[in-house]
Symmetry: C2
Subunit: 338 residues, 2 copies
Amino acid sequence: MSDRITLKHVAAHAGVSRATVSLVLRDSPLIAAPTKARVRQSLAAVGYLYNRGAATMRATGTQTVGLLVNQIDNPFFAELTAGVSAALDSAGYIAFLSVTEDVVERQARAILRLREHRVDGVILCPAAATTGQDMAHLAEAGMKLVQVMRFVEGSAGDYAGPQNTHGLGLLTEHLIRLGHRHFAYAGGMALHSANRERIGGVTDALRRHGLAGPHFLPVENTRLGGMQAAAQLCALPQRPTALMCGNDVTAFGAMVGLQQRGLVVGRDVAVTGVGDVPEAAACQPGLTTLAASPRRIGQEATRLLLRRIADPALPAERLALPMRLVVRGSCGSGVAQP
Amino acid sequence: MSDRITLKHVAAHAGVSRATVSLVLRDSPLIAAPTKARVRQSLAAVGYLYNRGAATMRATGTQTVGLLVNQIDNPFFAELTAGVSAALDSAGYIAFLSVTEDVVERQARAILRLREHRVDGVILCPAAATTGQDMAHLAEAGMKLVQVMRFVEGSAGDYAGPQNTHGLGLLTEHLIRLGHRHFAYAGGMALHSANRERIGGVTDALRRHGLAGPHFLPVENTRLGGMQAAAQLCALPQRPTALMCGNDVTAFGAMVGLQQRGLVVGRDVAVTGVGDVPEAAACQPGLTTLAASPRRIGQEATRLLLRRIADPALPAERLALPMRLVVRGSCGSGVAQP
DNA sequence: CTTGCCAGTTAGATCGATCTAATGTCTGAT
DNA sequence: ATCAGACATTAGATCGATCTAACTGGCAAG
């Protein structure tokens, strides 16, 4: 059992006041070096453990932040989470994690709990149904928050995410160069900003080349959604030759679904993803996708949040990180001539 | 800006004392129903936000727990984390997450920080180099903790993980039935309990059938480790026909490495994993593996921890969940006859 | 000799909840 | 009429830090 050792005990042991010990803990320049050394010895001698809860009552800041992601079993968000965790660790912070599964109620419950714990800020990948009003309430309550991957329409503040529109333009033009003329787009049932930007990027690129917009397959951006998209694609009278998926996980599902129907991915159908999670290089054929460096995005989001916490008055920053085209076997070397 | 609304303000608004409001917050039976209703109205009217930090100073428990995993980018641990998060959410708890990357120093730093935050308990997948003494110190400090996936030798307390020994026995016998006689085992460079049990399960099963132990390829249980193992396997004078990998991610790396060397997985070499992460069904060929239901393990670990927090005197429980053999294409239909 | 200042230290108030022990109020039994 | 006991509520102490404002002793300037 811990014997509830407080500043008082340390102070008694070192022969100083509690205030002095408190200042030593924070390495204040007010305290003379020899005193500091003596107090530090006592700290170790009595086995003192800092009580951040108590400190929080008077001091400002808890050295904690919240991280809310919609899913964690998607390797993309797992990497992002790892990036946040590492960046926070080296800044002396620690994160509360909550997985919302895109359910606004879970998100709201988690945010309330985080506010009760007086987190210094929140990194939020907003659930798809989050409204601008929800965000406004948070801002009014003085919550420092950085949005990541998705940006709620009508909201304000910091954001870190990939250049979706530009990236999907690159990817679409690559497919056009390969000879594709009929496109399908799988995923993006939930119309959050990332999906809108991605679909917009594809549509714009097609229009630039005088092509019709992609055939939209409204499924969720999950493995299962990808499999459903494969089924839907095969049921179309005139099958598109390129299937662009909202993210890598969806593409994995689609590839399995297509293969189950006897189609050879990369020859009969080109498939693409978004994100370039490690599995994209490991599957067969390799997945052509857009590298979005989730770890980096997590780190940048953390940097933005810590910056915001340090100076709430700073102007908002919206960071759009470039995506890189990664060509692998899943889109083959050219469209099959009928 | 939040105007620091405390119990005092609510009490004034409702015309009662702070103590009464405090009791209403916790839905105490001591307070009469009409008073409760009135106070609850005031709570909402003044926009009160509970301050858990302050409460913690007197009350016992913070409604927080720590979750320390060695990696999160492995889908297995991502699923496990999702299970923990969901289970905690419905119990009114929230988790601090820290990713240790198997570095004991990061683990130690995170645990210190969690102790400073006075978490009610910790779910820990111990970094490989964790010693029994480390665990003993934590126990002495009164830390409630549940180990998950790995169990530090010489430690005590609760644990939740899969039946590694039995599971790998099943898997090995399946390969033996297919005609394999020469086995390699990739992974398990870090000798924590899970790796030891898995290797033990293979060795035991082989011995039961009068076969020599697996050729041990000492790599890390990562995608990269798997690729290294593939290279090592191909360099062996007499190549084993079955490559058993320490987990699915290692197997994915191994499959890529073998394919790069012109070998057909499932025909030339049988490959197996452990865990059955979703990608195992999606890769080509599908990966024969052991389903370990990570989400369930996360939920069980959470249950054990909450139980332990509620009653620290309970006897320790070591939960070993069964693994199910999942046969897919990666081990083919029989060993190739030379 | 007094004053002012500085560096180093500290007593005591304070943060916002909960806990303890006590208070007042209303029954119903003696 | 008095008392025991249950019920509902509360004043004030308390948790363990930090903050504010004040206090020391020593030294230089006036």
